[in-house]
């Protein structure tokens, strides 16, 4: 393939993901509303919210430092970077090798660190509370995530998502018990990382329970918008990574336009199913007490490690 088409694909994909991400949010909200017998909002609601936020004037605390104002952009930037790298529709993007799974996880933790710092910047008790809880979730979720990814990496003998997807997608179907463990662990991590029930509830501002919301309490207008948008992208990307590892089928190569359509179709199907599953989970589970969360995540961590071990044990 030539580089130009590659770069074109690269940019297209990243823009595509950035634009489509809020739609996924909308879809999840609709599903949840349906499941809870509420009349569903428009699927475009997230877009309206963002637009509204962008129009408002930003209110910033007098004691805020530059870091506070920079953070939203950095979050958004990190997510956009990830969006550009993960194989959404096609594999073999030219810049994909710039970051393998480890680097991806690192990007997420970079974003997390900045948001936590920003939360501490104003010096309100809420910010501190949120930052502390976020890091608590993070330090357990991140290794669990890495371990699940490692399982896949061991199976495909590589840490670059491209190769993983490729090898997993084009292999003859076989059941990997290790992948089973990894899958469960990944799901738990996904819930935690994206602040969904049962770990966090994006819909409340209850100081006893809130984590992510507490961090961004001081943000408003365009900054808030960027953060929300970054959240949406993050959820989307997590799903993509999940697909890449566990249901990689249907993904296409760079330059293969027919395959691209097929890939798009499969992606839509996967996403909608995933949205429903997420909604189901959020409906059927109750929010944990805060200190259940570490246990929840350490379970995820253990599962992931177990997955890795079973890989070796089943292999020998």
């Amino acid at each position: 393939m030539n580089l130009l088409t590659g770069i074109a694909f690269q940019i297209l994909q990243s823009v595509f993901v950035v634009l489509i991400a809020p739609l996924l949010m909308g879809w999840v909200n609709i599903c949840r509303a349906w499941l809870q017998n509420r009349s569903a909002p428009s699927i475009l609601l997230p877009y309206y919210t963002l637009a509204k936020l962008f129009h408002k004037d930003a209110v910033i605390a007098s004691c805020a430092s530059p870091l506070f104002r920079l953070t939203p952009y950095i979050l958004f930037g990190c997510m956009w970077l990830v969006a550009g790298i993960v194989p959404v529709l096609v594999t073999g993007l030219p810049f994909a090798p710039a970051a393998d799974i480890i680097a991806l996880v690192a990007v997420f933790s970079l974003a997390r660190m900045f948001s936590a710092l920003a939360a501490l910047d104003i010096g309100t008790s809420f910010g501190g509370l949120g930052a502390r809880r976020e890091m608590l979730i993070g330090f357990l979720a991140e290794p669990a995530m890495l371990m699940t990814l490692f399982t896949a990496a061991f199976i495909s003998g590589s840490t670059s998502l491209n190769t993983i997807v490729g090898s997993l997608a084009h292999r003859t179907f076989a059941i990997y018990p290790s992948l089973l463990f990894a899958g469960v662990a990944f799901l738990m991590v996904l819930l935690a990382e994206n602040g969904r029930i049962p770990v966090d509830n994006p819909a409340t501002h209850l100081e006893l329970t809130m984590i992510h919301e507490a961090m961004i309490l001081e943000y408003s207008a365009r900054h808030l918008a960027l953060i929300e948008w970054a959240q949406a992208i993050k959820l989307f990307v997590y799903m993509i990574i999940g697909f890449a590892m566990f249901v990689p089928w249907g993904i296409s190569e760079v330059g293969d336009w027919a395959g691209l359509l097929f890939a798009f179709a499969t992606l839509v199907i996967k996403l909608s199913i995933a949205g429903i599953v997420l909604a189901l989970i959020e409906t059927f589970f109750a929010k944990f007490r805060l200190f259940i969360a570490p246990e929840f995540l350490s379970t995820a961590f253990l599962l992931a490690v177990l997955g890795m071990l079973t890989h070796f044990l089943t292999q020998t």
Binding site: H55, Y73, L81, P97, S109, G157, R222, F312
Partner: protein
Amino acid sequence: MFVPEFTLTGSLAVVLGWLAVGLLGLLRPQSVIFKQLLFALGALGGFVLSFLSFLALSGPAESLVLPLGLPDLPFHMRLDALSAFFLLLLGMVSAGISIFSISYFCGEEPRRFAFICLHYHFFLASMALVLLADDAYLFMVAWETMALTSYFLVTLDHKLAPIRSAGFIYLLIAHLGAIAILLSFGVLHGGHGDYTFDALRNAELSAFWTTVAFLLAFFGFGAKAGMLPLHVWLPEAHPAAPSPVSALMSGIMLKTAIYGMIRLIFDLIGDVRWEWGMVVLAIGTVTTLFGVLYALMQHDLKRLLAYHSVENIGIILLGLGMSMVFLGFGYPEAGALGLIAALYHTLNHAVFKSLLFLGAGSILHSTGLRNLNDMGGLIHSMPKTAFYFLIGALAISALPPLNGFVSEWLTFQTALQAPILGNGVVRSLVPLTAAALALAGALTAMCFVKVYGVAFLGQQRKPRHESQDTFHGGDAEHYERIGMAFLTACCFVLGLFPSAILLMLNRVAVLLNGAGLAPAALKSGWLWLVPTAPAQASYSPVIFLLVIVVVVLLTFILVRHFYHGRVRVSHPWGCGFPERTTRMQDTADAFGQPIRHVFGPVYLMTRHLPVPGEPSPRYSVKIEDRHWYWLYRPIAQLTEYVSAKVGLLQQGRVSVYLLYSFVALIALLVFVQ
């Protein structure tokens, strides 16, 4: 080059220069200019040294024999790739620290300054000699001189009892370690030849004796490096010293221990066994987790950094351990990867840990505070320092695109080579260390969110009171800033162009293991970092950084373009509370609380919780290191017990003394018959 042994003689000249500068300090300079000049010269030496060693890295090994030392064992010196790499580290980092010290120490009164200057530069010189030594005697001399000078620097403020005890513990453990190292040399020597490293290399030993030598060396150097359970001196001694010295100790001195380990195990002992690797891995894992978990509990900034040094030494040990395992099973490429990861992390840690210690020093200089719980909002009063410190914090938290991430990434990649191993158990154990590493990385991030958030962000917790008027309260001084800026730049360079460093380190690996990385790794070009093969793993920090920067700017412009940049400044939202005080912010201890909750059993915790209705409720928690209680105290008690028993010999009666000699005489007579 135009002089034979150019780089070696050059490095030697730098060493002598440092000694000279140290002696010049004894003139007890009054003028600030002169004081500054001395440290500037020290920094210059650092730069020269790094330049020379950079040349030496690509050149052939050079050696030299000085007419000093023992009559039949003169001082041997050798500058090969390994020494060159560590000298590069020494030169670079010490240069940054010396620049910082130009401002930092120029306020000292002459006598104290003379003392500092002398020991500071002798410290540098002895470290360089450790790296250059090519025989056991010179090595030991330089090694102990290093310990001694640093001890004097640690006990600079010897009027404070804790500092005295810190110095005592430090020198004691250092000395015990040195004895073990000496013993290890003795075992290696195997009874013939002399004590040059060549002779030690060539001595054949049985597997048992090599293992003994390995264990002794591992113990001895581990004591210096601060691995568990010999780390106890580290969190005591590093805070005690002036910040640049802490930076030297944590940034460079610990690395000389790593150097010694590599030199003895990989070079002198030679044939590495995978069992040793497992030992190193085990201890490395424990050290890593312990270090970071205890760091999270600290509220004294320098103590916290010291515990992080323990953690990072653990990470380095992980790399070494894996390398030894792979070598032991006969996979030189993977072994080289592990070794390179370890070396890379050594370099990175040297850079960012020194940077952080210097930052702590600037804070101390500016506010006189070391306790995080008294700081806050420093980003407003010292913005530049805040920036440098942020970079350091991101680097140590192993976040891309900075340098800390690269080496941890390489370590992960090494762990991911595990499937090639034959032994099933080992194969599944090695990745577990990766899990530990991941956990440690995340915890480090949390810890530095705490540090940065509590110290620099938020609002000042305590109003400045008159006792602080001696401190200027502003941003770091000129040269302090330059020093930190230099190290910050190093963080970026090391983070952005890893493949260049990889090539450098590959030489070391080739020197030690005879085999380097896979060829694919070496011709990946400057943009891509590829440890094994492009298909397996790759990372490109430059692209990474570019994309983020571009995207951030793009977003910024777009937002401005399509919407607006209007901002209203107001009070922070108090969530409906009537008034907010700065005491409502999270303290360092509060931030660590969830960790205390999750990892409770790890800590030896004495906590006082206020009971409801207490007139003046007070909350206090004290975290202690368990090792004092299960390891050090018993040993001390045993010694006390034995000496008490021995003391009974001397019980004052001349008759009994006569009896001793009488019995001794009779016994010997019987023995002779």
